[in-house]
Amino acid sequence: MTEHDSQTRARRRQHRTADRTAPPNPQRRLRADGGQPPVVVKIGGANAVDPEGAVDDIASLVDGDREVVVVHGGSTAVDDTLERMDIEPTYVETPGGVTGRFTDAETMEVFAMVMAGKLNTELTTLFRNAGVDAVGLSGVDGGLLTGPRKSAVRVLEDGKKKIKRGDHSGKITDVNSDLLTTLLNDGYTPVVSVPMLGEDDDEVLPVNADADRSAAAVAGALGAELVVLTDVAGIYADPDDPETLIDSAATPAELESVKAAAEGFMTKKVMAATEALEGGATAVHVGDANRDAPVSSALDGAGTKIE
C-alpha cells in the first residue's frame, strides 16, 4: 500500500507546500502522546450484526483519546434496494465455485446510493448521537480508496467457463492516509464506505470492493490495529465446535493453520487479515459484533488475534 499521490494532489502540493499541515510520513507515525496506533474497525453489513454495541464501544475508545477509523459493509441492504427498485441482480459463479453478484452499471449506481448515501449517513448519524464527531467518506472522496478497475471476471455459466465483461469492481492499491490523518488530528472519526475509486483506461469511476479488504487496506496504510467484527466469536479450528476458537496466530505456521481452518465467508476475513498485516497493520482481531463492548474486548484478546 503506497501513499496516495495522484497527479492532482502533486500539482496542488507544489503551490501549497507552506500550507500543508499533515506530518510528512503519516505511516506508522507515533502519536503526540507516545500512545497506541489507530484502530480500524470493520463493522459488518450482515443483517445479524447490530452496530449499536460497537458504536457505543467506539465512542468510549474515542473518548479515551484512541484514534478510530470505521469501515462498514452492507451488501444485504444493496440487495433490498435492488429488489425494491425491481432490478434483478445478476449472480455469477466463479470457476472456484463462489457465487457473487455481478456489478453492472445499474447495480453500481444503486450500490453507491445505498452504501455511501443510506448506510454511511445512518452510521455517521448513530456515531454523532453517541457523541463521536463522525465524518462519513466513501472511497471516492479524496481518492481515499483507489486502484485499478476490473471489468472482466471469469465465471461458470451452464457449466462453461466464460469471461464476462462490464463488471464494476476493483482492487485497492492506494489509500489516501493523509486525508484520514488530517481528520484524526482534528478529532474526527472517519466512517468509511465502499465504493472505491476505480482507475480505468482514461477515467476514474466508482466501483465495488469488498469491505473487509477495504478495512484491511486502511489498517495497513495507517499502521493500525484492525478489528473485524462478525457474527461469530472468532475463527474456529472446527466451525461446528465452539470449544475450538483459535485465540491467536503469531507465527507464519500458525497463520497457515488459521487459513486452513477458515471456511466459507471466514476465508475472506482471513484473506483480509493477511493483506492488512502485509500492508503494515500491527495486528488483526476477528471478534463477535454482538457481545458487550465488542471492539475493546477484541483488542483485549477476545476472539482471534492474528499478528
Binding site: 444493496v78 471476471v153 469471461i163
Partner: protein, 56 residues
C-alpha cells in the same frame, strides 16, 4: 464443426457449433486458455488471467 488457429501456438482449435462470445476454450495442443472474442467468424485470443476477487 469449424476450426480456428490458436494465437499462442498456431495449432488448429476445434470449435463447437453453439460457440458463445466470452467462452473460454482450451487449446488441445499447447493447453492455453483462449477467449472467444467473436463467434462468427470465429476469433480467439489468449484469455486474460483474472484474480478471483469479489466486491461487497
Amino acid at each position: 464443426m469449424s476450426e480456428a488457429d490458436c494465437p499462442e501456438c498456431g495449432a488448429g482449435v476445434d470449435l463447437h457449433d453453439d460457440l458463445e462470445v466470452g467462452e473460454i476454450l482450451d487449446c488441445g495442443t499447447c493447453g492455453a486458455e483462449l477467449e472467444v472474442l467473436a463467434a462468427d467468424p470465429p476469433e480467439l485470443d489468449t484469455a486474460p488471467e483474472l484474480e478471483e476477487d469479489w466486491g461487497e
